[in-house]
Symmetry: D2
Subunit: 361 residues, 4 copies
């Protein structure tokens, strides 16, 4: 008799295949699940392998569109970046993948979920926290010992910037409420306007120009520092473009508060708390901040770098006339003097106190 | 009879020359002052012009070394960056320049200081706040109406990345207590080990490869958005190198707090509050955080981009053995499960509440 | 011929009467405006006096209900408290009062507004920022020099705690979405359920027991420290009650973020930025955080103090069974050990580094 | 043969006595350790009981002075308060107690430490994190299952405010660098000037007037909400006094940053991270902020409440002349208008944008 049903996040590789076999030997029914979030993978081969190893059912799920819309786009809105450098690619994928796994488990009546991520990595935390948050009664079945031996070619999407082509691509990215709604290649007129289309295209262009490679040491949630080598071509282009249109259209002080929320969001997501009350709350607040983030950014992509060329917006707060040195308008230079003197009241008092203190001592 | 003595920040240009003449006509004695912080300038010509226009004394002050050590280095320690993009070049120069002006004023018995910065810019605020903070009784004499018409060639230090050389430079930068103490060019063995030598060399290398150009819209302290075009070649290299060695050697949670302090520091400096109790306090705290930030970073500079190649430190917190998937050491995977389950307690309770709420409504 | 029309915030006192007369002499038509936000005042006398001094029109506006609902309630939700002590009474009244003044000015076609607050106080800033924010073209006519000489009896609403009655009042306050919807006096069964009714009643009860008196030194926006003596009887009761029900029903991490937003909110409001994009944004976020803040709090009020006696909520996150030491439930003590050990990984690494550092030096 | 030596935190009560016996039965040598941090306890009886149960050695350690100086005083400097209400009494005691236990373990060559705190509470976390941080190789021996059944009389130090005496005590507390150095009872002239003397006396006075009782629901580090009933009579008096003298002597913006650090400090300490790099760092920064926090505060203690009566300081930043409405001094009201107008630039632009947006839509 079966001990119950396990939904196993299955990659087709050696480690999760071993888990599959072991689970069956232990007396479980195993359903395998493989998510397509845009990675290069032979999904058919994985399916066949799972079946040949005795999987009761095999799910191959195309999550590409929802991954971009529901996970990447909020991260773009947040200018999400962990420890000032890492654009969170994998961290964002994990809750998307685990969410579907839990849905399958519930729908198939499985009490168990399993995965191949090891106990020293962040992905185990992200996976399991998502499962517990969305399916509190679930049991996490034996975890794997997947050894992510560094592949020979670490970078799959991006070319080495030294080998990229000698002329830039120039793109125009349109934003509405802080998310990209269209990208146009100015040179050849190509254009994309679905979330998945936009993101895939930016990955392609960014990859061609070697954009978004980093080699960093980062702080894992479990308290270790580890080395990470990442490539985020499309994400890097979007980061720069969004930052630019946001500063152009958002009030300074709103942005300051939103910047703090974005840092918190990045930590939550990195640590695996996408599905948590605080992350829900922060996503809501960030989304609210994006109401006026609308317009288009022109940029060039070249030799690993993204250069902002200009921006336009119907909701710009940049007022060329106001800022011009030639137009006085209703700006009175006297006001600036008053502004400065009042700001100096506190500084002068401090100086006075320091003077008294040093002369009394 | 003289109305008193004014120390005028004099550039040799048209605007401050007009101010000089006007101040004399109004009955003031004028002392001109021109700071050398590394800019391209014909200091001799400026001196002669000031004298010919009737300056009573002319000060040309070489502040380059103190500018790097006392103003740039603390900004490097802070990873100072305003609104996620601007590395604060000019903002940091202003308190350095105004400090000496005030010292001259005190020493020469001048009651007034004057400058050519306009009422719509940040530089007026930075200049005047520094003066009031360091010399509370000073009077700021008539301000200028300097019109910074955009020059034909906006970028003076950096080449266009499209026109830069086809092979990278590889540098090794050594840090002690979070400040650079040596830079070595791996290709040709060149090496610098004074603050001014290091900073000038990085500006040269960065400039040659087109590093550090930005074209942004930023939020001024006086409440307007304005466009800024900046180049910070050396600063950009140092920003990336420091960020890397800092993450390598600093505890995660210390860094998180320090990151928040660095953002505050950047805002203070941008707004002109270098000489303020809060900026003193934050500089002290940031300096404290840098005690273990020691080691060397290898990086390449190429086509406008800085790539970190690696890092080494005697005070590294990166423990390759601990993080390795092959070595279990005294890390027990069971602990990770417990860690995750306890972190999930709150998430599960939240889910339970939501479930009850929705079923009761 | 008239120079235009001024809407003057008129108190009936000496200072604003002088302004009224002076404005007329200068050739302006003057409309006086007096807001009733619940203060003790002879409104009829003020009306007659304004008319006798030549006011063209006299507005006496009852803003009590909107003051409580639109200004006090959001402050309760925020747990608004400036510099850890001041509950912001006056700061919150000012935008309410100035908003109506601006509405009158627009409706009456007046280009000017005027008030009696002096240049050294916060109220001038709060008043004028509200006016500029809501009516950008308005001109602020001559400001006053009102000298708020401390009255003989500083406390108008609260009794001296030494003289209050010897038995406590026990109240039950019901909250929905973080705002009070009902108060019941447990002793006599009295009950109020309109915003104005609730707030007035809490002021009465709090006043009777001497609750909410403070004598502080505070930091004004204009950079001075000043002494403030305040009484906030109802506000103090609500502060404690709201804090209690909020902690009971809000997730820990959401609350942590919300606490930071509340501190920012308090500073904005204190400084006069109620009508600003950042304050709109923060109010929205805080309001969002209050969705589950529902339930009732029982408290006693006695001799200047508020004691929380208990709380109940249909949306409580407090789970007595989970927290009980006698019920193990599905809480495994082993998990706690793992949780602690993983949290200690970072601390141990730090200790190791320190040990190495000290032995190498 | 012994399995090794355990240092057991022993209270003399049933739970830790059971652990002692069980450890011996399992083959360990047991050293008991009981810390005196000022609690009511029969230390002699505990010693005898431990010996009679077979403890190899018994340590009774008087930590009262170091507890006040090294743990309470930094918390006073921080204005430490968890979730706006809890003054952290026990949380601060735990690292003090565990530190000595670890010292004994090292000195006695014990590889194990043990305690009676359960897996659901914060104290286990605080205890074990301290041990791991200070003695990374230590093994935490079997934890207890201590059931803190609520005692009949929950409050041991404080009287019920309804039953306290009818006349206030008036105290004068002197601070240097943010820590109390003397307390004087104005009525009877009693005075204390050692840390332990001051703290004990404030506990006595506060207790007599029923100060510092709270009944709250709080968020534990392990993710549960739990109910806590606490009394902190001396701590409450010091909290109010320190807050007052700090605001009086500290620059506004320094205080704002320090306030944020204090909140972080409170969370760290509550969660058990007293001995962590981040808590070291934050304590250092807070200590730095206290350099000018000097002077004396007069306050009365009455019926559960602390009322600040006044304060004096040689390093006050409160300038009565500057703030006076009657003295203009060198404060120009025009400056205030300029200050306000510049602050309004941003608000007006926002209004303009909103207007355009709504008319275009």
């Amino acid at each position: 008799m079966s001990k119950g049903t396990v939904v196993l996040a299955y990659s087709g590789g050696l480690d999760t295949s071993c888990i599959l076999v072991w689970l069956k030997e232990e007396g479980y029914d195993v359903i395998t699940y493989l998510a397509n979030i845009g990675q290069e993978e032979d999904f058919d081969a994985a399916k066949k392998k799972a079946e040949s190893l005795g999987a009761k059912k095999v799910f191959i799920e195309d999550l590409r569109a929802e991954f971009v819309e529901e996970f990447i786009w909020p991260s773009v809105q947040a200018n999400a970046i962990y420890e000032d450098r890492y654009l969170l690619g994998t961290s964002v994928a994990r809750p998307c993948i685990a969410r579907r796994q839990v849905q399958i488990a519930r729908q198939q009546g499985a009490q168990f979920v399993s995965h191949g991520a090891t106990g020293k990595g962040n992905d185990q935390v992200r996976f399991e926290l998502t499962c517990y948050a969305m399916y509190p009664e679930v049991k996490v079945s034996c975890e794997g010992t997947e050894k992510n031996h560094a592949p020979v070619n670490l970078y799959l999407m991006t070319k080495n910037p030294e080998d990229t082509c000698e002329s830039p691509d120039v793109l125009e990215i349109h934003f509405t409420k802080g998310v990209p709604v269209k990208v146009i290649n100015v040179k050849d007129g190509q254009s994309k306007d679905t979330p998945l289309g936009i993101f895939s295209y930016l990955n392609e262009i960014g990859g061609r120009h070697g954009v978004g490679r980093i080699d960093i040491v980062e702080n894992r949630f479990i308290g270790m520092k580890s080395r990470g080598i990442y490539e985020t071509p499309g994400g890097t282009i979007l980061y720069h473009a969004h930052l630019d249109i946001e500063t152009f259209t958002m009030d300074r002080e709103v942005r300051r508060i939103k910047q703090g929320l974005g840092i918190k969001f990045s930590e939550m997501v990195y640590n695996g708390f996408w599905y948590s009350p605080e992350c829900d709350f922060v996503r809501h607040c960030i989304d609210k901040s994006q109401e006026n983030v609308e317009g288009k950014v022109q940029l060039s992509v070249f030799k690993g770098q993204v250069y902002i060329l200009g921006r336009e917006s119907p909701r710009s707060l940049y007022n060329e006339e106001l800022v011009s040195m030639d137009v006085q308008g209703d700006y009175d230079p006297c006001d600036a003097s008053g502004f400065i003197k009042i700001n100096a009241v506190r500084l002068r008092e401090h100086h006075r106190l320091q003077g008294e203190a040093s002369s009394n001592r």
